[in-house]
Amino acid sequence: MDRRPLLGRGERGFGLVGILLVLAAVALLAIFPQFVKKPYVLHMGVVLFLAIIQGQAWNVIGGYAGQYSVGHAAYFGIGAYTTMMLLELYKIPPWWGIWAAIANAMILSLLIGSITFRLRGPYFVLASISVAEIIRLAALHFKGFTRGAEGFLLSEIPPLHLFGTSIEFFTKRPFYYAALGLAAITIAVNWMVQHSKLGYYFQAIREDQDAAHSLGINLAVYKNVALAISAAFTAWAGGFYAMFVKFVDPNTVFGLDISVQIVLICIIGGIGTILGPVIGAMVLVPLSEILRNPKGLVQIGILPADSAFVSFIEARFANAHLLVYGILVVVVILFAPDGVLGVIRNTIARVRRRRAGAAAGEPAAAA
């Protein structure tokens, strides 16, 4: 069976084309706000980019190294709370605070890794969930420190003085650019990981841990490296989220919802690929937003204010985004476990087989 990899993990192929595509997309997205000014659209852009970042971050530990953490909210939340608390309590601006957030997350990841990486498969999943739950429950309980369920409300973000100009964070625009930049960085990091010794080792661990071990791979070290990278970017997204949404509380940022959503983003797009999380985000975010807030479609002018579609969604599907997530997960796992990219890959492979069969003079085999 010829299962040549589609967009080659080979020596050339996808690498260059893909990079150019991504750069072009980033450029387009960068000039986008010059043409579209509606704040809601920019808001959606930020949400989309955040989802991409979360997905790319998880991909490193889940997609490449094969360790399915369903407790990544732990890092997201640590990022959110650290950044928020440093700003609100100590007046430290988020562009400094975020580094503390990332450091916290990486330390936490080393701790969690040392505890949970001895466990395999489903036990690891369970442990990762438990850790996130422990942190959430602790954050709820130790009100003196975290203000418990009340959470933190952002008062204001100080202006950022950069290259002689002063950037205010009152509108969506600066967030848009920051998020776009961060997303691009995370994609770049993913790419670099995949094309490095780290990437090979992570994937070896995913495919067969014992074989990898016997080939000279120190499992503990590499799993922890993968998790640290993943935690760092997840926390970065968390800190960003805190500044953007301006409110954090334990159930939102440490919740299982977040962890599941992060995994979903990767699964839907295609686990262990660079573009997978991007595709997954592009599916999940609009979907969840339309369900949560169908009036948004009116806001951006796609639908008229009296649209029957909008009222239908509002009446029936308010807060049904989780239901749709659930259905999506079931459908993807059952029919497309390699995600959208997997479907594309298999289709192209099938087409190639047919062509090869036809070229060899055989009737096209029913593929």
């Binding site: 299962r3 094309h195 994937q203 995913r206 495919e207 016997s214 080939l215």
Partner: protein
């Protein structure tokens, strides 16, 4: 002999009450091919596992190049120069054939470029070069075994442990492997080979160790072993020509 490259001293391995290996001792000189045979369940793979750090022996010592291996992890063992293949092949299924071997090569270098060259070379040695872009999961069993050999060779080992590498292969494929093993000896590689194919073992081995029910039953040259009545009895009576 001059300092043996591998020295197994009174190794025992217990699982609960069961002694999978019981007081096994032998040593290997550098550059030799040692055959390790015995009926199913004799403890051959268990011994491999103990030697390579998959788990530590319950008793006894394993010395590789004079270094005590007890308690070392498999990755450390690999870096010291000893690798093994698996009875049930373990391809890294979603990686290409080339990438599989590169993973092995990366044990000795940080450079992807160098690893790639080493990988291509090893694939050439096992005659799998033409399939380097195929996904390992799509290979038939014979080629999976060859892939596994290429992969461990890429780690530049000094001692290679082959666990039933000919299992499930047709005669042509087995012959290829036999030639490969003999070739590797010419290049100075020391090898221990677990096999059920007696003819093959007789052809390639300099010495043979026979295990039965966890104990070492006999050790000697191929002829001695073939004529050893206890060995024959253990295999339920087949004189090997």
């Amino acid at each position: 002999m001059a300092e043996p490259i591998l020295d197994i001293r009174h190794v025992s391995k217990f699982f609960g009450g069961l002694a999978a290996n019981a007081d096994v001792s032998f040593s290997m000189a550098q550059g030799m091919i040692m055959g390790l045979i015995g009926p199913n369940g004799a403890g051959k793979t268990t011994l491999f596992n103990c030697i390579t750090g998959y788990y530590p022996p319950s008793k006894g010592e394993v010395l590789f190049k004079g270094v005590r291996m007890n308690g070392l992890q498999p990755d450390q063992v690999c870096h010291l120069g000893m690798v093994r293949t698996w009875q049930k092949v373990r391809p890294l299924a979603k990686l290409t054939v080339l990438d599989n071997v590169m993973v092995g090569a990366l044990a000795r270098t940080h450079s992807l470029k160098v690893a790639r060259e080493v990988a291509h070379e090893q694939l050439r040695v096992v005659k799998l070069g033409h399939k380097d872009q195929m996904l390992a999961g799509g290979l038939p069993i014979g080629e999976r075994k060859k892939l596994e050999v290429a992969r461990v060779l890429a780690t530049k080992p000094e001692l290679l442990l082959l666990d039933e590498v000919m299992g499930g292969l047709n005669p042509a494929e087995s012959e290829e492997i036999i030639q490969l093993i003999l070739d590797l000896r010419k290049r100075g590689l020391t090898q221990m080979v677990i096999e059920h194919d007696m003819k093959a073992i007789m052809r390639i081995s300099d010495r043979i160790v026979v295990l039965n029910s966890g104990e070492k039953l006999a050790e000697g040259g191929p002829r001695e072993i073939a004529d050893n009545p206890e060995v024959i009895a253990a295999y339920l009576g087949e004189r090997v020509e």
